[in-house]
Symmetry: C2
């Protein structure tokens, strides 16, 4: 027995076989079409960067999960673990070459040594999009609208929950708890997971009973968008630029769809854990499947590239879609696009005629019909049994039509086998092209 190496992939990594890869590509294409319609532009950055750049201030979970090593030149390098940090570095480096406001999208793989027991992958695809270089509320609105349109084009209706980090901080400041901001955010962030009682207990420990009650009153405000906003405004000490921003978003949405709607929901309990958000934050829930959690979250930040540039700070608003989670959700909903069926194949009746069969296939391809020429299982002259084998192969491959060429297929009639109906008919090649184009 010859020694051989066991073929296996690393834990948390996956091969994509054709059906799944076709589905992934078609989803990505769908999303890219929407980005382009909105005037968003693609960028790409290296998979590998200086570890110092990716880790930034470092610490925490990231440091534990990142794939970091010394390269052959003894450089301290790492694989990117998200697309946000590389975008910040990209922006600092290319600031002079970009036209602001800059709208970009980036769909690419990232790597994290996650605990795979929680069903997480160590290699996964993210889709980020941001508008940077503008503080306008119109940009916040555009990102929200873009999320809505992307999901709509994937066949999914969503509710987008918004909040304002700055307004929450203003409220904390108003009740004299501004120095507790980070911890309070963290406790509130876990509200849905830990429940109201636990949250109340934790907040009481942090800020005292009276303040905990106020914080829960703020984050638990109920009613219509306007009623909640009024409550938040009142509790944070009256009208402010932050409450005005939320009011504008609501107003834009009304102007946009000319009708009251529940699509945009004000939810004062959303905080988004990440430190760098400073303005509007949002989460996106599928109407048919809210329980899987937010499929697209993000917000406004006021200093994207500050870590890499001592000059002007660049503000922006952006968000991230985890492609793998989205695919899992679409699959549960039965909304994954089916792998494109291939239209036609040329049966191999006589292997010596391979050139002719390719010429025939090429004629179909030039008409935009996917067509392959079978190359095997065909003893010279062909016989019924060999043809049946090729019909079975076509069926396995999801091919609808098989052309069975005679001696002069480019001029004479050809037998067309419809794999679905198991019927044969005789046509010229031009008639076949018309026939197939009608049905696929």
């Amino acid at each position: 027995m010859a020694a051989y190496i066991e073929p296996k992939v690393l834990k948390g990594f996956r091969d994509f076989l054709p059906d799944m890869e076709i589905t992934r590509k078609s989803l990505i294409e769908n999303m890219e079409n929407t980005f382009r319609l909105f005037g968003f532009l693609p960028i790409d950055t290296p998979a590998l960067e200086y570890a110092e750049i990716l880790l930034g201030k470092g610490g925490g979970e990231t440091e534990k999960q990142i794939y970091r090593f010394k390269d052959n030149g003894e450089r301290d390098v790492a694989l990117r673990f998200d697309l946000t940090v590389p975008f910040a570095r990209f922006t600092a480096l290319h600031r002079e070459e970009l036209i602001f406001p800059f709208k970009r999208y980036h769909i690419a793989k990232v790597w994290r040594g996650e605990n795979t027991q929680r069903g997480r992958y160590r290699e996964f695809t993210q889709c980020d999009f941001d508008i940077i270089g503008s503080e306008s509320a119109a940009c916040d609105f555009e990102i929200i609208l873009l999320i809505r349109t992307i999901m709509k084009n994937l066949g999914v209706d969503v509710n987008i929950h918004v909040n304002h980090r700055g307004l929450f901080n203003r409220f904390l400041s108003h009740i004299g708890q501004s120095e507790k901001s980070v911890e309070a955010l963290r406790v509130v962030d876990k509200l849905a997971k830990t429940g109201a009682d636990e949250t109340c207990k934790n907040l009481t420990e942090l800020t005292g009973e009276e303040n905990a009650r106020k914080i829960l009153e703020y984050t638990g405000a109920k009613g219509s968008f306007t009623e909640i906003l009024d409550k938040m405004t009142e509790l944070s000490g009256g009208p402010s630029p932050e409450s005005q921003r939320l009011f504008e978003l609501r107003q834009y949405m009304l102007d946009y769809i000319c009708d009251d709607t529940d699509n945009l929901i004000l939810d004062p309990s959303i905080t988004r854990g990440l430190d760098y958000y400073t303005g509007v934050v949002f989460e996106t829930f599928m109407k048919e499947m809210p329980d899987i959690g937010s499929v697209c979250s993000g917000g406004r930040y006021d200093n994207l590239a500050g870590l890499y540039s001592k000059d002007a700070s660049i503000s922006g608003v952006g968000t991230s879609i985890g492609l793998d989670r989205l695919i899992a959700a679409l699959e549960s909903l039965g909304k994954l696009p089916a792998a494109n069926k291939r239209a036609a194949a040329i049966a191999c009746v006589n292997q010596d005629r391979a050139g002719l069969y390719q010429a025939l296939a090429q004629k179909l391809r030039l008409s935009g019909i996917q067509c392959e020429a079978f190359t095997d299982s065909c003893p010279s002259g062909g016989n019924e049994k060999q043809l049946v084998k090729q019909f079975i192969l076509a069926e396995k491959k999801g091919i609808r039509y098989v052309l069975i060429p005679g001696s002069n297929p480019l001029t004479d009639k050809i037998t067309l086998r419809d794999i679905a109906s198991r019927k044969n008919s005789e046509f010229t090649i031009d008639e076949i092209i018309k026939e197939i184009k009608k049905s696929v």
Copy 2:
């Protein structure tokens, strides 16, 4: 001064800004359309694999260039350095799930710690395609035809040079030099680089004067495809399955294009350095730019996954295109697709109307027109200077039309600014959609 991290990328790595990334995506899309028309299916594999799997028998250049490290679980892992080795591992692992003959393509990044002084990148994109599970000459022909069609669809005419590794080995065996096969191949492979004299000297050292003369007679055979093939057949001891295979390819090409042609050139000096080729090998040269060398090389192998499976050996034929080299060549030829120009933008006249402007933009997008709504530089009420700024922004962004909305843009006439002609006209939104669709 705040401490900050210098924003830089690793040597040999690149950011892709929007214009280049759009070009790259459009090239890849063009190639994928051709693959699909031929019935080739996409797959993907992890960027990171067990080092043992990627290195296989190991040694040589690969071992020096590969990015290899210990992950957090102390596994010996590495970044893929090509797409062939992962495909071999993929095939061994998923053999039961694939339908043979299996036609796949794979376009993805690979990483090699190359010497960047030779203008090489350490992160680059490869495009591989193969047909595996068939020994048919029709598959060899299909790969050659696919290369030709891919290049044609990119606007490039090519000559494809073919040879047969097995026939060369048969010839060496015929002159009693079969044990020198690998070294002889290596010397001949460098023929174009080192010149005839040096090659003759090296061959003489290796095989003696008489044999060196015969080898050079074989590799230097001149004339038409048929004349060269006759010479090769004679020198290798008469007709053989290998010479028959070359004859078939020629015959298929004649059947295919119904005409004699120079597109397929028999070149007995091609060997393709890689050990695993056993049958037909080929190289592809751009007719307008032969000097940059082969843009797409490959061949037939008889045991793709042998390293990873003790069972059945899988033969196939395939090839690889280096996307970066192809892009450089297309750029020199002025054949790079231009970055898609965006069609339209909505000027921001009154920021309070952002919702309405998005509704207007969305109306264009739903008609398939790329449209963004400007979000800034617009003091309430708007004035000429602010509009001029937005025209300049549109021009920089390559946007052809700017819509200047009045109070009721969805019903009243709108001013349409043609950035190219610098002319304004008045239209309803439906007329504008027609107008823009006519011109882009």
